[in-house]
Symmetry: C2
Subunit: 243 residues, 2 copies
């Protein structure tokens, strides 16, 4: 192909294929190889989003995570396994680059914001020409779907993983004007208690599959149960016009 | 026109027109009126980004801020003036909606993330059909241009306005894994001291016009002066792969 051998991290946005950028689409038309991360046994979400824009017959490189369940991130066995996995991924991508094939690594949301792509970036960007194409983040997709102004003016805005200890969550929620809590899943009861301790439960919104057609959104205080997928988010809007 | 009367907040991304989404572009083709905020005497940045996608002859509504300089946000005269301005803007947009004309309000970045659009949203969304189209944020544009992984895994990520007092900035910078400091301008010396007090100056990156062709990026510690535009940002990456 005509494009020089380079790696491109391509953000494909939060889920709605129409939230892909022109630059992402042009890049997918130009590259030799499209790589995507997915859980073992699952289709890659990024590939599903971008499917209509892959060239017919383009080479695909599926990077399949070795584990499918949430594991404590500091468990040594898990860390070793996942680190070896990212190393193998980097070797596979580098093999294409060494053969003068350009590789787009497609990513849900934005590649450098909590994305798997950055594990390739830190291993390869110093050795190969590399470019990153920003994408609409999942959290932007969520607050836009809900139509909720999240932060304004001099607001302090914070993104918190639901995996934090309850006391730490409560302290940080009370200390920020606006917040997004990610990685909800089985952390929801704890997140709910932390919001209550911080005095923010009344403003919190629960969003599931925010930019899909089957999105679920409600005030968290109205959610009658604690069942939640890992990728649900809780939004705490910082700003409210009083008039 | 065929589209029903509704207001749409349209994110046009951080600056590069290629970072507009398909949905933003389709919407601009469909609406009757395109509204945009700008400083008095300046072209609207959002309009410049979206210019190629405006329908020839589309009605434009320019919303011009009454003030051009940075003012203390709590100065009563400033607040009254700016509040009256947003109220006038809402009346102007509502007049089009009442005449059954659809109105796209185009916004740099993402409409509900520190955007002027939300001043219209809170005044009109309860009265008219309203939709928000998420966009790539300015900060995503910046860290992608620099190629810097900003946050990963269980990182706590925080957005801070450079207008905060130095001690508060220093405390919050020390408390977050990753941070973006916005509204730099004349706050740069203070931001620099706060980063130093937080032990984060060595990791901080200074970015000016992040997604323009004339972007300036450097380690903040290497920047020899304190001259900075208001829209410069400082990135503090939270995550670094040690291998």
């Amino acid at each position: 192909m005509s494009a020089p051998a380079r790696m491109i991290g391509v953000g494909v946005g939060p889920g709605d294929p129409e939230l892909m950028t022109l630059k992402a689409i042009r890049t997918l038309r130009e590259v030799d190889v499209v790589a995507h991360f997915a859980k073992a046994g699952n289709a890659s979400h990024a590939r599903t989003i971008a499917a209509a824009h892959l060239r017919p017959g383009v080479t695909e490189l599926a990077l399949r995570y070795p584990v499918t369940t949430e594991s404590p991130k500091d468990a040594p066995a898990y860390c070793g396994k996942i680190d070896a996995f990212y190393q193998d991924c980097a070797v596979a991508v580098a093999a294409h680059l060494d053969a003068h094939r350009s590789v787009a690594v497609i990513c849900e949301g934005d590649p450098l914001f909590y994305g798997s792509y950055m594990h390739l970036h830190v291993r390869l960007a110093a050795r190969y020409p590399t470019e990153v194409i920003a994408g609409v983040t999942g959290m932007s997709g969520c607050w836009s779907a809900v139509g909720t102004p999240i932060a304004q003016g001099d607001d302090v805005f914070t993104v918190l993983p639901g995996t934090l200890p309850e006391a730490d969550l409560a302290r940080r929620l009370a200390d920020a004007d606006a917040a997004v809590v990610m990685k909800i899943g089985r952390n929801l009861p704890k997140v709910r208690r932390a919001l209550d301790r911080a005095g923010r439960l009344g403003r919190a919104l629960y969003v599931e599959r925010g930019t899909m057609t089957d999105a679920v959104m409600m005030r968290l205080a109205d959610k009658p149960d604690d069942a939640a997928p890992y990728f649900a988010v809780v939004l705490v809007p910082g700003w409210e016009k009083s008039t």
